[in-house]
């Protein structure tokens, strides 16, 4: 498992674990980032931090330190989920 913060820009991963007691993770879950969902690290900010991640049809900014504890399974060509029910 890899922390989201260590993904390369453009790389996808499938969310393996987060910490539901953290305020950041609660906000991300409310936005629909739940275990098993794929996400993409879109880019890093020009100064290296924060990072922008894409999931469920939206792009969200996240601090490097906050992205450290989100663990993903890196998948080679896992597409970002569209905002609709998964088949």
């Amino acid at each position: 498992m890899t922390p989201v913060s260590q993904l390369q820009p453009g790389q996808f991963g499938k969310l393996a674990s987060l910490d539901p007691e953290r305020a950041v993770d609660q906000r991300l879950m409310a936005l629909g980032l739940l275990p098993g969902m794929s996400l993409k690290l879109v880019r890093r900010a020009p100064l290296g931090d924060p990072v922008a991640i894409e999931f469920a049809g939206q792009v969200v900014s996240l601090r490097q330190a906050e992205a450290d504890s989100l663990l993903v399974d890196v998948a080679a060509d896992c597409p970002v989920q569209r905002p609709r029910p998964s088949p």
Partner: protein, 719 residues
């Protein structure tokens, strides 16, 4: 207001869904802006025509993603929807605006709101964009799946579907169809039932389903405390309930989103059919605007452009306002020729005071216009994304950027825009830093000093450099102050920085202009009254006592004087013996280390309520009359030739390079704005932080000014 109370409809939705555009379209700008009691969140409401069903009062609540409130803005939404706001009633229905291009995420809030049991209408806004993206939504099926709740596709931007929304609201108010509700997994449902029983027995009232859910899923304990449920009994009940959820295989803090999203996925099955990638255009723009090198370059360019626009565009209307005010004074003054006291009060106190305040309005309007465009287009979130790194080390976040930037025009809108920051401590630290930004009221002081002393002695290059430098002084001090405040005093936890980077959109001119107007009106009503009152008080302090013997002494001392010159000398003599003048002379030793004489001291003291007063006060004390302006050559000449009359510096120019720089640094840092202090007190919920800000800024200003004066006078004693 009609005698029969109109139904109250709450407009709720995620940020960036076009909620305010829909609000403007539904109310046709028939709106009222007030404040929720206790917090400074604006309550925007308007009257909405429902056709044959009459009218409804529509209230536009702040945008939010979840009812698990983290910021004051979000808490207001929860309180408003549950009828817990003093003096406000519970809404009769909810108009829920969702972004049709991202139904799943947007319906999470709808699903939470459904738990409140209020009649609901779902507006699929931005349906036109969804269509362009190739998304097709089965509206009828979605409505049936939601249990018969009206679902209306619309594009508020284009004005499509607005009439249908009105009809749907009327229908929802009449039929009161409840929305379908989430099915909780067995252990969660049992825990909720247990908790409801415990709440009822401890509080003596039956809690609503929504309240029980909020209490169970809240990891911080603030929700139960707000309900008045505290103590060991609560802790035991909560522990038992959460253990039950855990034993059932769920994390109590993840159960809510998991249950809602599972419910919504099933609900949307077959409702939305495929579309092509909808964010392609925005992603392309981001590749440019967030590029590692081009991004910061464009960002700097945009911000400098905004700055230049605020300063230079505003010059023209400011000039018109100034000449209008001067003309008014010229017309009104003769009407009171028989009573000099009344004449001075009206002309120098009231009209000049209000005029000086109005002159800042163009800058504020232009700032709000540009900020509105940047916000509605989606660039503001990118600016926060780019800037976050620079703010995070001192405990702030990219969200502090907009308030600080606004502070460069005026601290008041800057303070008002700190409301979007969730963490109360980070919000406080940002509010504390905002008044350090070099607001436009400091500009006339820099302009006067630079054009009178720096420019003539060192050339236009240095003049501009000092102007720019002065604008940075506040920022240089604000960053360490924020650092000490967040790290040592408040001990702010690292703030979560979860910020949506929304799709880029073309701002709708009507919305931007309307918000600009509303913000300006709020500024005028809040700051205007304070400034007006203070102007009159300062006028009185510098007018009284008015012993006729003073004028007589001036006349006999120099019989060659006559006309205007005599009048100005008489006025200066009056100011010198006024309460303000006496106080200035008494206080002058305090400012002596900064190189200020008693006249500057009077100016400094008179400008504590509103710093822009310094220019006209110097005009009076240097006996040039009230109308002196920053570009007045007379004032510049009088100041250039001013000499110390007595003491160790006798004969030396008062406005030496050291004194000029010290005076500008003092103004850059000092808390000289009654309206800002009042707003700060209001935003931080008490006078404690406002007083702390006043003392900190004023002390820093004195220390820095004394430091600059003592340093420069030694390095360049004759400059």
């Amino acid at each position: 207001m009609s005698p029969v109370r109109e139904p109250l409809v709450a407009l709720v939705g995620n940020p960036n869904t076009g909620k305010s555009t829909l609000f403007n379209a539904l109310t046709g700008l028939r709106q009222r802006v007030g404040n929720y009691p206790g917090v400074t969140v604006a309550r925007k409401s308007g009257s909405c025509d429902l056709g044959s069903a009459g009218r409804a009062e529509l209230v536009d609540l702040p945008g939010l993603y979840s009812l698990a409130a983290a910021s004051p803005d979000e808490q207001v939404v929860v309180d408003a929807l549950t009828g817990r706001i003093a003096g406000d009633r519970r809404p009769d229905a909810v108009l829920l605006v969702v972004d049709a291009t991202n139904l799943l995420r947007n319906l999470f809030l709808a699903s939470q709101v459904a738990e409140l049991g209020l009649p609901m209408v779902v507006v699929l806004n931005q349906s036109d964009v969804a269509r362009e993206q190739g998304l097709s939504i089965d509206v009828g099926l979605l409505s049936r799946r939601l249990g018969g709740v009206p679902v209306v596709p619309a594009s508020a931007w284009k004005g499509e579907g607005v009439a249908e929304v009105r009809r749907a609201v009327a229908e929802a108010l009449a039929l009161r169809t409840p929305s379908v509700r989430v099915r909780w997994p067995e252990p969660v449902a049992e825990a909720l039932a247990d908790l409801a029983v415990a709440l009822r027995s401890d509080l003596g009232a039956t809690p609503s389903d929504s309240d029980v859910q909020r209490v169970l899923f809240d990891a911080t304990g603030t929700v139960s405390a707000r309900l008045g449920w505290t103590g060991p009994a609560r802790d035991a009940s909560l522990r038992t309930a959460r253990d039950k959820v855990r034993r059932g295989g769920y994390n109590p803090y993840a159960a809510e989103p998991l249950a809602h999203y599972a419910h919504l996925r099933a609900l949307l099955e077959g409702v939305v059919t495929d579309g092509v990638g909808g964010r392609a255009a925005s992603a392309a723009v981001d590749r440019l605007l967030l590029h590692r090198i081009l991004g910061p370059v464009l960002f700097t360019g945009i911000m400098l452009g905004l700055f230049a626009a605020v300063f230079w565009l505003a010059k023209f209307p400011m000039g018109w306002i100034q000449s209008g005010v001067d003309a008014l004074r010229g017309t009104v003054a003769p009407l009171f020729a028989g009573t000099p006291m009344l004449q001075s009060l009206v002309s120098d106190g009231v009209i000049a005071g209000v005029g000086a305040f109005l002159a800042f309005l163009p800058q504020i309007l232009i700032l709000f216009l540009f900020v509105g465009v940047l916000e509605d287009s989606g660039y503001m979130a990118r600016a926060a994304f780019i800037m976050d790194r620079l703010f995070s080390w001192c405990g702030l976040s990219g969200k502090s950027f907009v308030p600080l930037l606004s502070g460069f025009a005026c601290a008041i809108p800057g303070l008002l825009s700190t409301r979007t920051i969730e963490d109360p401590k980070a919000r406080l630290a940002t509010a504390f830093a905002v008044p350090f930004m070099s607001c436009s009221a400091r500009f006339p002081v820099y302009a006067l000093m630079c054009s009178a002393f720096i420019g003539p002695a060192y050339g236009p290059g240095w003049e501009s450099a000092v102007m720019v430098g002065m604008h940075c002084v506040g920022l240089l001090f604000a960053v360490p102050v924020a650092f000490v405040l967040t790290r040592v005093v408040l001990r702010v936890r690292p703030q979560p920085f979860v910020l949506e980077l929304p799709r880029y959109q073309l701002p709708k001119p009507r919305d931007v202009l309307w918000r600009m107007w509303q913000n300006a009106a709020e500024f005028v009503s809040k700051a205007g009254t304070v400034i007006f009152a203070i102007t009159v008080v300062v006028w009185a302090l510098s007018y009284f006592p008015r012993d006729p013997a003073v004028a007589e002494r001036v006349r006999t001392a120099d019989p060659s004087l006559s006309g205007d010159a005599l009048g100005r000398r008489v006025q200066a003599a009056y100011v010198e013996q006024s309460w303000m003048g006496r106080f200035g002379k008494a206080v002058q030793p305090v400012f002596d280390p900064c190189g200020f004489d008693w006249k500057i001291t009077v100016g400094v003291l008179a400008s504590f309520p509103a710093r822009e007063v310094i220019v006209s006060t110097l005009g009076v004390t240097y006996s040039l009359g009230e109308g002196a302006e920053a570009d007045s050559t007379q004032l510049r000449g009088a100041m250039q030739s001013a000499r110390w009359q007595e003491g160790p510096r006798a004969g030396a120019p008062i406005f030496s390079l050291a004194a000029v720089l010290a005076l500008m640094v003092f103004f850059a840092l000092c808390s000289q704005c009654g309206a800002t202090v009042a707003t700060l007190a209001q935003e931080t919920g008490g006078w404690r932080w406002a007083a702390a800000s006043f003392v900190t800024m004023t002390l820093l200003a004195w220390l820095a000014a004394a430091g600059v004066y003592q340093l420069v006078i030694r390095l360049a004693p004759h400059a």
